[in-house]
Every structure is written in C-alpha cells, then in structure tokens.
C-alpha cells in the first residue's frame, strides 16, 4: 500500500520509478476536481503553502470548505469565472511511479481539450456519476479515447456513496460502458467503483464495497504497463537534426539525431531512408553519450550509418524489412482545434514527425457526431471541436503509418501557413475506430475486476 512515508526512499529507489502519462475526463459535476484533488493530496503533492493559499481564497469568498478546484484552476479568468479554460498538467509521485496528469476541462470546448490531453496519454480516466450512469458526455469521452488510441481506459464510477454502494448499480454501468467502448475499439477497460469525496477505492480500498475485489484507482495507475505499444511496432526513426562536429577530434562524425518514434533499433540492422529509398546499415547508436547496440522508443539517440548518404531533417529511417510506404494522398480523421474553419480547397501545411510540407485539403467526405457516432456526408467545412474525415494532397511524399499502428508516426498537424495557427490534429487512416471489426458481444466478464 502506498503511504507518504514511502516518499523518503533512497536515491536509487526513487530513480527506479517509471513514468505514466494519463488524462482525466468527466462532465461538470462528476467530481473530477475532487478525484484529482484527492490523488494529489494523498500522494503528498499538495504542499502546505499551496493548501494555505486555497484555504485563504476559499475563506475570502465565503466558502465553508477549501475549494480543491482552486488547486487546478491557475489563471485569473478561471478563478473569476469558476471554470477551467484549458488543459493543465499536474505532477505527482508515489514510491512506485511518477505521474503526469493532463487535467482536461469537461465542459468547455471539450473535444479539442480532451484530444490534446489524450494525445500523449497512456491511460484515460473517464468519470461517471453513479446516479446518472452512462450519459451522452460519457459516450463522447469513450469515443475520443478510442479515436486517439489511448491504450488503457479506466471507468471510474463515482459517487457510489450516493447509491448505497450497491454492486448492481456499478455492474450495470460498467457493463453498458464496456460494451460501448469495446465496440469502439478501446483495447483495455478497467471499471472501478469509487467515491472521490469519501475516499472509497481512490487510494485506499473501500470498506463499504467488499463485493469489489479489484484495484483502487491509484493501485491501477501504479501497475498498468506503459510503453509496450511503442516497442512492439516496427522501428521508426524520424531524423531531427544532423550532427557534424567537423572538429579535429571528430573530423568524420556524421550522426542523425532523433527520438525513436516506435520500435527497436539495433546496430548491424539494414535500414531504408525515406522518402529517398536509399539503403544502408546501422553502424553505431549513441544514446546521449553512451555507445549502445540496441535502443528503443522513446529514447533520444544519434544513429550513425555505414554509408555516407544524403540525409537531412524530415527524413525517416526504418528497417528495410519493414519500411512504411510513402504517399502524397493522405486520408485521415482530424479533430479541428482552431477557431477559424477548415474548408475544402484550403492550402495548409502538414507537420508530420520532423517534416513540414505544403498541402491542400481536397475533400472533407464526412463529419462525425460523437454523440451517436453518425456520419454527416460532405459538410464542406469543419469548425472548432468537429471531428471529420479529410483527404489531403501533399506537395512532397510522406512516410506515414496508419494511426492505428503508430500514434507517433500516424499523427500530424494541419497548420495555417498565413499565421501559423494549429488548425487540426490528424490521425492517418480510413476508419474512426475499428467499429466494424469489433463486433464481439462482451459478457459479464467483459470488464476487468
């Protein structure tokens, strides 16, 4: 069990922890702030001076109890209006793991904010109110998690104290959600009955729900596997920068610096450079000062090749045995994140890994309604928070994977060339989610106890 005294571990123990990035999603009154507050508070991440500041402001406003939302609402406008404007990032730790929490607002501009938070998340926590069950907003959150291919989803059924801690209430919600989310292609769903306010199953196991034998929220966060999806994929190495010291000490050093986007690279491996298609063999890998024979995502390394071939920023190095195809015709699902609309015929920039090229929006075949997952054909344009299918023609070939295969090399930004605004978040590939393929009817064991 985690306790605050575990914090004072030796230096070696502290360095041995791994990092989990997760996002929270919930509607206005689902108790997201309380859950976040409790996770932060019980993991010693709210310190005395921060808590004193929250207490002082709460008292000044005449509130009886400290308003934990003030811990997370950092901007003047947010405090004035009592709303959360934008994604914020929180940090906390236990003896087992470090956490980066993308705290995404539930009620304003929800889609783009949750897309932003989910884009880097290994796990998403979707909150529902036990009294209301799965509502439209819950389905929206599940759809965004599926769209963004977040590997793990936790359904936190909150306010169990207000439904008498009944197993049947939880089981019905968990079953409905699991069926819906599995249908969307969410690979792993864990349902946990909690009361964020009373502290049931958040950090400590609940004495009120002895019928539940699964992990607490924190226990699950501490033990869920991370990064396995990155290294199981074929290797992808976008070249960021060419390192050529040209010094007396290193007259011939020519290294390709980058962060391994997916998979594993090995010295001696035959590789192909895209889009040129030239081939060579990995001669050496320098992992930030240490020469290694093997390196994996998401390590930042410098790769040296046997042959002196023309490689620059924006190129992609991949194993010759498993290199992606290149294309100038990109079919993708995009989430529109800007206030200005995206229309058919728009001239844009597409930023994919380390490569930015000109492009034109040829078609917008459909716009998706997240509430019922219905498709509206030929909407003509996408506006803020819309999700739609687009067809984009690029000026130069891109080595693009399907987003379903690689979140890193299947994702891109559309950028307005006139003012640099990020217009849309793109995910390459035809389908919104593997809805057609996954028709398995989940049974009673469909959620993870």
């Amino acid at each position: 069990m985690t306790s605050t005294t575990d914090q004072v571990a030796g230096l070696d123990d502290l360095a041995a922890t791994t990092l989990l990035r997760f996002a929270t999603a919930g509607s206005v009154d689902d108790g997201k702030s309380t859950l976040v507050g409790r996770l932060l508070h019980d993991s010693k991440s709210v310190l005395t001076d921060q808590m004193e500041a929250v207490e002082a402001v709460s008292a000044q406003r005449g509130q009886e109890a400290p308003d934990l939302a003030l811990l997370t609402d950092g901007l003047r406008a947010e405090r004035e209006q009592g709303i959360t404007i934008d994604v914020a990032y929180r940090y906390f730790a236990t003896a087992r793991r470090r956490f980066i929490l993308a705290d995404t607002p539930g009620h304003v501009q929800y889609t783009r904010n949750m897309v932003t938070g989910a884009s880097t998340a290994d796990l998403a926590v979707v909150l529902v109110d036990a009294r209301n069950g799965v509502i439209e907003q819950t389905r929206r959150h599940a759809a965004v998690a599926a769209l963004l291919r977040v590997p793990h989803v936790v359904l936190a059924v909150n306010k169990m104290d207000l439904v008498g801690y009944q197993e049947s209430v939880f089981a019905a919600i968990a079953e409905e959600f699991t069926a819906y989310a599995s249908d969307l292609g969410v690979p792993e769903i864990t349902a946990i009955p909690i009361s964020a306010l009373a502290g049931d199953n958040v950090v400590e196991p609940s004495a009120n729900m002895d019928w539940y034998g699964g992990p607490t929220v924190l226990e699950h966060l501490e033990t869920v596997p991370v990064s396995h999806d990155l290294t199981a994929c074929p290797a992808r190495f976008p070249v960021q920068y060419v390192i050529r010291p040209q010094s007396a000490e290193h007259p011939d050093y020519r290294g390709y610096a980058g962060q391994i986007a997916s998979g594993v690279l090995r010295v001696g491996e035959a590789v192909t450079v895209l889009p040129s298609g030239r081939t060579s063999v990995i001669e050496g890998i320098d992992a930030l000062g240490e020469s290694v024979d093997i390196a994996w995502a998401p390590q930042s390394v410098t790769v040296r090749l046997k042959d002196d071939i023309d490689i620059s920023r924006g190129d992609l190095i991949a194993p010759s045995a498993n290199a992606p195809a290149t294309t100038q015709d990109v079919v993708a699902t995009v989430c529109h994140v800007a206030d200005q609309p995206l229309s058919v015929g728009a001239r844009v920039l597409i930023k994919h890994t380390t490569r930015t090229v000109k492009a034109i929006v040829k078609e917008i075949p459909s716009r998706l309604t997240l509430d019922d997952l219905s498709q509206h054909p030929e909407p003509g344009q996408l506006v803020a928070n819309d999700i739609g299918l687009v067809v984009v023609r690029t000026a130069e070939p891109l080595a693009l994977d399907a987003y379903a295969d690689s979140r890193r090399t299947g994702s891109f930004l559309l950028i307005d060339p006139a003012d640099g605004t990020t217009l849309a978040a793109g995910m390459a590939g035809e389908s919104f989610a593997s809805k057609a393929e996954t028709t398995v009817q989940p049974d009673d064991e469909g959620w993870d106890f």
């Binding site: 571990a9 230096l11 070696d12 123990d13 360095a15 922890t17 791994t18 990092l19 310190l47 001076d49 921060q50 500041a53 811990l71 997370t72 950092g74 901007l75 405090r79 404007i85 934008d86 994604v87 940090y91 793991r97 470090r98 980066i100 904010n113 932003t116 880097t120 596997p225 991370v226 990064s227 396995h228 960021q240 390192i243 010291p245 000490e249 290193h250 610096a257 980058g258 962060q259 594993v264 992992a287 930030l288 290694v292 024979d293 093997i294 994996w296 995502a297 998401p298 390590q299 930042s300 920039l349 930023k351 890994t353 380390t354 930004l413 950028i415 640099g420 605004t421 990020t422 978040a425």
Partner: protein
C-alpha cells in the same frame, strides 16, 4: 554480438521500459533538437541556477560530440550572488560558449528603469530581457520554467508563442498535440521553449545527482550572514539589506532557488551533499517558490501577470 542494455533501472514493466528520469531526459533532448532544426537563432536563458544548469547539461548531451549550437543569455539583476556569477563565467569558458548579458543595473543607470520602493529587482528583469531578445533577434528562447512551480506555469505550453512585445496570452495558446511542436511565428515574434516543463523539483535534483552535475556552492548548507524580511532569510550585502530595523545574524542555510538577492530567501539546512538535499526536499511541506520567492507572494496572480508582460 554483445547486447548493451542501457538505462534500465530496477523495477520496470517491460524489457523496453525507461525509467522516469530517462523518459524526461529523452523528451527534453527531443525538444532541444526540434528547436535547433526549426529556428534561426535560439538562445538559452542561463542564470546559473539549477534548472538552467540542467538545461545546459541536456543541450551538451543533445548535440555531442558537436558543440551546443546556441548562445546563452543572462539577465543580470545587479544583485546576483557572486558565487553564481563565478560559476556562470567558469562554465561559459569551460564549454567554449557565447554569453550575452542583459543588465538591469545598466537600465537603472541610464534612467530607463526605476528602482522599486521594496528594492526587489526581479520584476525589473522583464524589460532588459525582452529588449535583448528584440535587439539580438532571437527567435527561440529556452527557459528553465517547470509546470510544477506555480499554477499559472501549469498552463504553459512547451512551445509558447510570444508576440512582438513578448507577451503571453493564456487564452490564445496553441493546443500541443503528441510530440508535434508548432514553432511557426511571424517576424518580430518569438517562441519561449520550456524543455523542463514536465520535470518536478525532485526530478531536477535526482537528475543532477545521477549525472554528477556541479552546482554553485550556495545550493548546499553553509554559514552566511542573513537577516529576516517578510518571513524570509535574505543575504546581507551591499544590494540594500539589512535596514536599520533588521538585524543580521549568521545562520547555517542553503538556497533552494537562485535568483536576485533581494527576493530569494534561504532555508535553514544542514544538507551538505546531494543525497542530503534530496532527502530534505522529499519531506519538505513547502513548494520551492513558496519557501523562497518573495515576488510570487505579491498577489494571487503575480506569476501570471509577470508572464503576460514577457517574463519567463
């Protein structure tokens, strides 16, 4: 062929897991290289404090064996700790770096800035900083800011677009998706870049310990003549303290942050080694800034307001 499996420490989930420090290091290096690849004239803000020292260390690793392709910029308040200035100059010389200094004292001497009644020079840094960025035409400016420092900083992007007045508008930030940083900017605008966004104070100290990075000695416990002002121990000296009503005394202290002497408080400490410092921070019930920064206490939104004006 022998297989060298580097960077796997202790309990991990999979054969190819990274420790949290390796993951943070890898991400920060990626950010440094993105900026090197996309901008014309980046610069690293370097104060001689632990965060900027870690940034420089990461930049050295990111481009090795080539030199760091950026210059350094120090905003000298005129009230800096001599130990830190000595460290700064020694580091610059050791790595063959270029250092630009923007001096608050020069601005005061020229009548372009006025000393504040409370003697604090930290807010005065904004004008020399933003003018140096404009005059020297930097288009990307690395800062050591971390999102765990302060609630306004928790809202800051890794790439933060600033207008020609260096202003930050929290309502007009670009969403940051995946690891795809959008650094596009118009002439005259620049981007502030925060490679340590996702690090906490403890991460920084653990990394310093792991990498064996040297720090200015004021970070470790030593005896110093200090006096109490607004509940904080400030260093006595020519910068303007103590006043007649304030009594200097010699105490065993160390600094948790390094900044202007007029607003950076010391903490009582007997931690003389990195391990002792880390143990001390791990049990501290005060945040770094809450414990030692007077300027953040000026109002509830002090940091946000300064950042809007162009502060880092």
């Amino acid at each position: 062929m022998t297989t060298t499996v580097a960077h796997v420490h202790g309990e991990t989930d999979a054969p190819y897991a990274l420790s949290h420090l390796d993951a943070l290091e890898s991400e920060a290096v990626h950010i440094f290289r993105e900026v090197a690849g996309e901008f014309e004239k980046p610069v690293i803000l370097f104060s001689g404090g632990k965060d900027s020292i870690v940034m420089l260390h990461l930049a050295l690793k990111a481009f090795a064996p080539a030199p760091v392709p950026f210059a350094l910029l120090h905003v000298d308040t005129g009230h800096n700790f001599p130990e830190v200035l000595e460290y700064r100059d020694r580091t610059v010389a050791e790595h063959g770096l270029r250092l630009h200094v923007a001096s608050v004292q020069d601005y005061i001497d020229a009548g372009k800035l006025r000393e504040r009644p409370d003697g604090t020079r930290n807010p005065l840094q904004t004008v020399p900083l933003t003018e140096a960025i404009q005059q020297l035409k930097f288009d990307a400016v690395f800062g050591g800011g971390r999102r765990d420092e302060e609630k306004a900083r928790a809202k800051e992007r890794v790439f933060s677009l600033r207008d020609e007045f260096s202003q930050w508008d929290p309502r007009r930030q670009r969403p940051e998706l995946w690891q795809l940083y959008n650094g596009r900017h118009a002439p005259g605008e620049h981007v502030r870049v925060f490679p340590l966004s996702n690090w906490t104070e403890l991460d920084v100290w653990q990394y310093i310990a792991r990498e064996g990075i040297e720090l200015p000695e004021i970070y470790f416990a030593h005896e110093r003549e200090v006096f109490k002002r607004n509940g904080m121990w400030l260093t006595a000296g020519e910068w303007g303290g103590p006043k007649e009503s304030e009594t200097p005394e010699t105490r065993l202290i160390r600094y948790r942050t390094v900044g202007d002497m007029s607003c950076t408080g010391a903490v009582d400490s007997d931690a003389v080694t990195l391990d002792a410092v880390i143990a001390e921070i791990a049990v501290s019930r005060l945040t770094e800034r809450g414990a030692t920064r007077a300027d953040d206490k000026m109002s509830e939104a002090a940091m946000e307001d300064r950042k809007r004006e162009g502060y880092f």
